[in-house]
């Protein structure tokens, strides 16, 4: 009985090891892709930004699923629910801050960049 339990556990550990190796391989691949996309100037402008952000989100999902085992718990998946709530808060915080600050920038200084204005005030 005990040896059977250990064998079962070894089987499960083998699965986990496979998940870790897959996660490591995919993460290295995604990091190097993002690096070479930037270094070799494959894309420019917004395409480049979208490409590397997409690669980063993909890698984060790979590590969340394969390293942190997100979404592989039993019902009612509280970890996943808390995670999704966090994502919602992050989207509101980051998206909202950027929206407000860029809007403010554009409205307060329509013709002049804030940095140039500040430099002029300093007399540099």
């Amino acid at each position: 009985m005990r040896s059977r339990k250990l064998a079962l556990q070894k089987g499960a550990e083998h699965e986990t090891l496979k998940a870790y190796l897959l996660g490591l391989g995919l993460s290295i691949l995604l990091t190097l892709t993002a690096y070479f996309v930037v270094v070799k100037h494959v894309f420019t402008g917004w395409t480049l930004v979208l490409a590397i952000v997409a690669l980063a989100i993909t890698q984060a999902l790979v590590q969340l699923i394969l390293f942190l085992h997100l979404g592989r718990e039993l019902q009612p998946r509280w970890n996943l629910i808390v995670f999704l709530f966090m994502v919602l808060v992050i989207v509101i915080v980051i998206g909202g801050s950027l929206w407000i600050m860029y809007n403010l920038n554009a409205r307060v200084m329509p013709t002049m960049d804030v940095d140039t204005y500040m430099l002029r005030q300093q007399g540099i």
Binding site: Y20, V49, A56, Q63, V89
Partner: protein, 196 residues
């Protein structure tokens, strides 16, 4: 045939601790999210000083990324050893994790020192304040993780593995993987986008 594990009061406490720690990690994510928002707003406010393009070296950041990724992987290997009750494997792989984490931290401190010595400290511009706060907070988490590793591993090395130490090591593993996930975004948004 039962598919769910039998109810075990010990296991339930264990699961509750891990869930509590997971909720802490999610709130930590929101902390990093606000720092990322601050960086995104301030990254062009260089106040006539150097921009990200002038300061950062991509190969150096790539090396840091790979070291941290490797340490996240070896941390997983160490916990596989722990679940098989293999103390030697656990200590060996956590040792490797610690060394990789310490090298990462050393690289980051050396980068910060060079920036400050060149006169580009956090007082130079809004961009550099946001940069030092974001990357410094991550470095502080790494430092805490390394200290935590020592505190947990010394008793395991001396007295062996207990259910309580296994629970604590599982929390540490989550923390360490989480720091690597945060670093992916620092590498992408600060270094890759800064140098592009």
């Amino acid at each position: 045939m039962m598919t769910q594990p039998l109810a075990n009061p010990h296991q339930e406490v264990h699961a509750r601790t891990l869930f509590g720690f997971w909720v802490y990690l999610m709130t930590d994510c929101i902390l990093f999210g606000s720092l990322f928002a601050a960086y995104a707003v301030l990254h062009n406010s260089t106040y006539g000083g150097p921009s990200a393009h002038d300061l950062f070296s991509l190969p150096y950041a790539l090396a840091e990324t790979m070291i941290l990724l490797a340490s996240s992987f070896t941390c997983g290997l160490a916990m596989l050893g722990a679940h098989l009750n293999d103390r030697r494997k656990l200590l060996l792989w956590f040792g490797v994790t610690f060394l990789l984490g310490a090298s990462f931290l050393a690289m980051e401190i050396s980068e910060f020192t060079k920036l400050v010595q060149a006169g580009n400290s956090w007082q130079r511009s809004g961009f550099l304040s946001a940069f030092f706060t974001l990357v410094g907070t991550h470095g502080l988490h790494i430092t805490t993780g390394l200290l935590w590793m020592i505190v947990l591993l010394v008793p395991v090395a001396r007295h062996g593995l207990t259910p309580t130490s296994l629970k604590r090591l599982t929390c540490l593993r989550l923390f360490w993987h989480f720091l690597d996930v945060v670093w992916i975004f620092i590498f992408t948004l600060v270094y890759l986008m800064g140098v592009k």
